[in-house]
Symmetry: C2
Subunit: 569 residues, 2 copies
């Protein structure tokens, strides 16, 4: 396939661009393989530079009128067009931006629309922009060789000898959605692990997610066991989980573990019909099961779509707003995710128990819970680098299927069954934490927004594919730039830092009462009601902190830098 | 009356005090004329110093048990009481704090409860604490002689000669709820004003609230005209409003005015039955009427009570929370007040028209709208001193009946018909402005909380009585301290300043869409979920700004100080 085949019309003159909260501009529209550009007519300035991959839905409307007046022009002559036909294309972007293009000539309009539709839904990963993007300031290798699992292991190894780095999955044979190196109990040999993997959906055997140095407890994750209708068992899986409890910690809960199932008890039971299920109590002594049902998949996607639609509704009354906010259920999902993460953190920190988290596939709500629990428990995850390390370990390398989940955003009508904003839900929960603990996270809202944008449409390869195996096959690390390398550049990094950050060694227990959960306005209303004044305030605090540092050049290092590389501490 | 008659038991030993979010303490309880004190037993520290006036509702519960265990003690022996009878008093304070006192001995418990009830509902203003409070750092006269109307007049006089300071109400004869000096059109003599006053409810004739120097338009306020069922007219009232339009401004709307009625058209019409009504169009050429119904009185009070009850409910689910938040209607009231203030500000600033605001009495929603419109339009009102001046002019001296409206807060069951949290609604709207424009107000949330607390129960005389006439009769200015004098002290003032403030000369148009209105958590959840971390952040920004000032002693004066005294500029 050649991109040129998809571009039916490459340039149109005299196009009117309208965006929420910005004055309309007229200019020349260009379609390239990856971008939609608009340069304004009189001054030739570039007004728009949109990654076409960011387009979620294309809506077109054509008119055939003697006199056509743009509905938003307010009646001024300049905006009144004397022509036969014209059309309006509405682009609903994955980042929730909405653009309107008024294009003279019906045919041109339809051509532009179908070009955008075709280019925005290119299937092949290796045809995507990251494989073509070559910024002069970066080198291809930068940011890719952070050795995240190795660094994480080194940190754990400095605290305990009960875990080892296993390369049982070095060729992705044990679990295609796991990275080549994972942490397993030191007492369990690789062949046992490999056999245990066969008893877990998609081979996702229990691995260490986080070691809690305070009391030696561990947070683990996996997928569901393949118990099935015949109540199958696996000696190796039982051995693996048994070994984890056998030498665990010295606290009150030593030798006890919780399986935190992110499905309802009923859903977990029903999963047996299709070959899944739960760990039977008798086969796993010491382990107790807790169910906390977290919605996923279509339910979550619909919730997201409903909320986005509601936020963009300019006619809503206060009564309807609260009622529809309620029925979107998004805040309920946020509350449920945070509550479950708190439960996992409590089991570790307060009960002194080991916790294994899984739902069905172990690639969505499981990661949501383990990643949030670590942010709550572990100060090292709350630095900018530590958070990047957490994302690498618990989302990207852990095999959250970004390509499937983030193919379409809130507006697309052509959604597959696989889309679900689980990662957005995670970012929203992190935002809730940052709001409740404004000093404790080294990064601010802008990073969370950037992560969302890049997960859905990016110039970087970081969020491409569904797992490390696919990334390896597509040569993502060899052929694309890493988002982390971009963010590491001092002039970029500066934008994402929280100027008020100061290292907080404590567990940060969020309030999860409904009264405390807020709508993430900075995300959901980003384009509708730009928070220019809040950004000014943020900028002013940043300047104050910077001026202070410059006036105290010999004082201690800026907050956070002592935390070293990616999750090591 | 002697206070000692009301105090049936002055001291009780071994009382257990429980408060939201704080550990319980045991100590000796003392009731004095104005305070409830609790000093903890082993160390003799003062744990509680509560103004009894702050108590909104007293709930008592007595038990007669062999072994009584406090429900919150969690089973520790220390909190288990071996006694015959005991009682629990729950004090619901006007500032929404909830205290529990567990008192040994049924009789003592009942005595304490009835003493608190009696002391908290003393009727006579001159028996209240402000008449007894004599802080060593202040002198009685301080803060009382700010000459607010005179300063405001001087500012207007520097911009136009169309308004004059009238002393027609010097002896409170024209309008008992107006201050002695008010601003009226220069072209209208005092005897005309005095006769016009007879045509307005409570004598509240139209006076200048704010002069908009940009285009010479004016914001006025009054009460409803006494049109009545017989469609009475007043030549003097017509002359007064005619004179205002006759020489108004030079903008597009010159010679045109809007009467912004804060009642629905139907309610305004019905008011004729009881002697009130509206200005008939034919008699007031150039004036057009707009109706924007704002709820007041019992409706507003019930909304407040429902929301407070909801916020304190620990069992509420996310669904019930949003549903009950909706049905409390508090956010709808906030939105309606802000929208109406924006409408008034738009008529002035954009339409170039003069605006007269009134509802029925002109002492509640009228002041809400005129005060908010000024904050939106006038940068001088957004400094700490300017805001104090605005409160003096538009709430205290303008005759908002604080004594009637703030006698009881959200929890009292003994509410009269006159209570209504109109002033709280104003503070909430100011908070919404401060959230949307974090740099533009020189003061922060803490000032708004302090103003609420003092309006409902105070050591200072500032919010006592219903109007200036009553204050003069009670010798408030001679016998009590001014809250403004207290706040003016550098170590106090510092706490209320917004460290990010920078003078913004523009009109600040808030977003009033439902999506933009937020629950004021700092107020409604103040005691339930103390925002300790947010306060830390605020404190850290304050320190940064202070350090910057200290390191730049020769730079420009700190933000805001150039704005001079109370509303003058």
């Amino acid at each position: 396939m050649e991109f040129s085949e998809l571009i039916k019309t490459a340039t149109v003159e005299d196009v009117l661009l309208s965006r929420q909260g910005l004055p309309a501009v007229r200019g020349t529209l260009c379609i390239t393989s990856h971008h939609l550009l608009l340069s304004s007519c009189p001054r030739g300035e570039l007004e728009l530079w949109l990654l076409i991959r960011n387009v979620d839905a294309v809506e077109k409307r054509v008119q055939n009128l003697g006199w056509y007046q743009h509905p938003r022009s307010g009646g001024s002559l300049q905006d009144t067009r004397v022509c036969g036909s014209s059309g309006t294309i509405t682009l609903r972007c994955k980042d929730l931006q909405v653009l309107q293009l008024e294009i003279p000539g019906m045919e041109q309009c339809l051509n532009i629309a179908s070009s955008i539709e075709a280019l925005s839904s290119v299937d092949s990963v290796m045809m995507l922009y990251p494989f073509f993007y070559r910024p002069p300031s970066l080198q291809l290798q930068q940011g890719w060789h952070l050795r995240v699992p190795e660094c994480h292991f080194q940190r754990v190894a400095s605290q305990t000898s009960r875990w080892r780095l296993s390369t049982v999955n070095g060729d992705f044979s044990a679990c295609p959605s796991y990275p080549p190196a994972v942490m397993v109990p030191a007492a369990v040999p690789d062949d046992t692990v490999a056999r245990a993997a066969r008893f877990r959906q998609g081979g996702r055997f229990p691995v260490l997610s986080y070691f809690h140095p305070k009391n030696g407890t561990a947070l683990l994750r996996s997928s569901q066991p393949l118990t099935g209708p015949n109540r199958r068992r696996s000696r190796e899986d039982e051995q693996l989980l048994g070994a984890i409890l056998a030498g665990a910690g010295a606290g009150a809960g030593a030798g006890r573990g919780f399986v935190l199932d992110t499905r309802s008890a009923q859903a977990a039971k029903q999963a047996r019909i299709s070959g899944g299920g739960t760990e039977p109590k008798s086969a796993y002594p010491g382990w107790r099961r807790l169910h906390r049902a977290l919605d996923r998949g279509r339910v979550l996607q619909d919730s997201f779509s409903r909320l986005v639609e509601l936020c963009a509704d300019p006619t809503v009354t206060m009564e309807r707003w609260l009622c529809r906010l309620d029925s979107s259920r998004w805040l309920s999902h946020v509350k449920a995710a945070l509550s479950t993460a708190c439960l996992a953190a409590q089991c570790l920190d307060r009960e002194g128990c080991t916790v294994l988290v899984h739902g069905a596939e172990g690639t969505d709500t499981t990661l949501l819970v383990t990643a949030l629990a670590q942010l709550i428990l572990d100060p090292a995850c709350r630095t900018l680098q530590g958070f990047q390390g957490l994302l690498e370990r618990e989302w990207i390398q852990a095999g959250h299927p970004f390509q499937l989940r983030c193919a379409r955003s809130a507006s697309s009508h052509a959604r597959g069954k696989q889309e679900a904003p689980v990662f957005l839900l995670f970012l929203d929960c992190v935002w809730q934490l940052s709001r409740q603990f404004p000093l404790s996270l080294e990064f601010g809202e802008k990073l969370l927004l950037t992560l969302f944008d890049n997960a859905y449409a990016s110039a970087y390869g970081t969020f491409l594919c569904n797992n490390e195996k696919e990334r390896s096959l597509c040569k993502v690390k060899e052929s694309t730039h890493s988002l982390w390398a971009w963010l590491e550049q001092p002039e970029e990094k500066h934008k994402y830092l929280n100027p008020l950050y100061s290292h907080n060694p404590l567990v940060i227990w969020p309030s999860v009462e409904p009264q405390s959960i807020q709508l993430w306005q900075g995300f959901f209303l980003r384009w509708i009601r730009p928070s220019q004044h809040l950004e000014e305030a943020w900028g002013q605090i940043q300047r104050l902190v910077q001026e202070k540092r410059q006036s105290q050049p010999l004082a201690e290092a800026p907050a956070g830098t002592e935390n070293g590389k990616f999750g090591t501490r």
